[in-house]
């Protein structure tokens, strides 16, 4: 595993505020933590330098970009074929993939995709399914707007 960092309560507060809204003003975070803005700034810089903070994520209303469906695709693969299947996905769904990861459990590979129509989803899954290394493929379509409960993340899982 990567080198771990023990976050203290103040780090957790800062990250919590930035998870809620990445544009939260330093001054506000500082007030919350009882620190100066400069001290908060230094902590954020440190969290970036050690690789805890890796960037920002803006999640737009995908519908306004024409993406009407979110789907999860679970795939079971013949041993040793994973890289081939990943390549196929990247080829056919480059502008659709939110995530593509190898898994342990029910599936060997999981893909998270946005598609502009069910036809598009079907054409992607069909293209991947054609590969002889695919043993089974399960497509699940998200029917509701997902609930984002990012504040739920426990930033000190080890407990302090």
């Amino acid at each position: 595993m990567d080198s771990e960092v023990e976050l203290d309560e103040i780090d957790a507060k800062i990250l919590g505020a930035l998870i809620k809204d990445v544009r939260t003003k330093l001054k506000e975070i500082a007030k919350e933590c009882g620190l100066t803005s400069n001290a908060v700034f230094k902590r954020i810089r440190h969290l970036k330098s050690i690789g805890v903070i890796v960037g920002t994520t803006l999640y737009p209303d995908a519908k306004q970009f024409g993406y009407t469906n979110v789907a999860t695709v679970g795939i079971n693969i013949d041993y040793g074929q994973e890289n081939e299947i990943i390549k196929l996905f990247l080829e056919h769904a480059k502008s659709n993939l939110i995530e593509l990861s190898s898994c342990i459990g029910k599936y060997d590979l999981c893909a998270f995709m946005l598609t502009k129509s069910l036809q598009e989803l079907d054409s992607i899954t069909q293209s991947v399914r054609k590969h002889p290394g695919v043993k089974r493929m399960v497509v699940n379509i998200w029917v509701s707007e997902p609930y984002f409960l990012l504040e739920n993340l426990d930033l000190q899982p080890a407990g302090v």
Partner: protein
């Protein structure tokens, strides 16, 4: 969302912390306009979430788990969802159609904590079955490349 909203959004998709002043200069409008447009897009849900991205492996997690939940017949699905929302660590929940009815995503610290979470969900009277799959990706909330889909 008009053309200007879209252009502001695209700048923020690349880096959500870009100062409004810089965006304003680039697009040839006032920083106040950018600020107002951003506020409006957040209020009306055009921008759903604006978060920092974290590498979960750095703070003590080994991966993420996709929990695939089937509701008990005769039980309200919303009851399950309400209960899941209250569970600390689950950070995305959605209703689905397909093999199962609800998906929930949570970070995984170790097998013990995973077992506890799965058991907690199984205990809900409105839950019939819980299956899961573990992924070793530790990007939170989603992969960093996510924004590129909209550029």
């Amino acid at each position: 969302m008009d053309e200007l909203d879209l252009r502001i959004m695209k700048e923020l998709l690349k880096d959500a912390q870009t100062p409004f002043l810089r965006i304003a200069k680039k697009l040839g409008v006032s920083p106040e306009t950018v600020r107002i447009r951003y506020g409006k897009m957040k209020d009306d849900g055009t921008i759903k979430h604006c978060s920092i991205s974290i590498d979960l492996s750095k703070i003590g997690y080994q991966g993420k788990v996709f929990l695939m939940i089937t509701n008990s017949p005769n039980h309200d699905k919303s009851k399950t969802i309400d209960a899941l929302k209250k569970m600390r660590s689950i950070f995305i929940i959605s209703e689905m159609i397909g093999d199962f009815e609800i998906i929930a995503i949570a970070p995984v610290k170790d097998l013990d904590s995973l077992k506890k979470l799965v058991n907690k969900i199984k205990k809900l009277p409105s839950v019939n079955r819980v299956e899961f799959t573990l992924i070793n990706d530790t990007a939170f909330p989603v992969n960093l490349r996510f924004g590129e889909l909209f550029l």
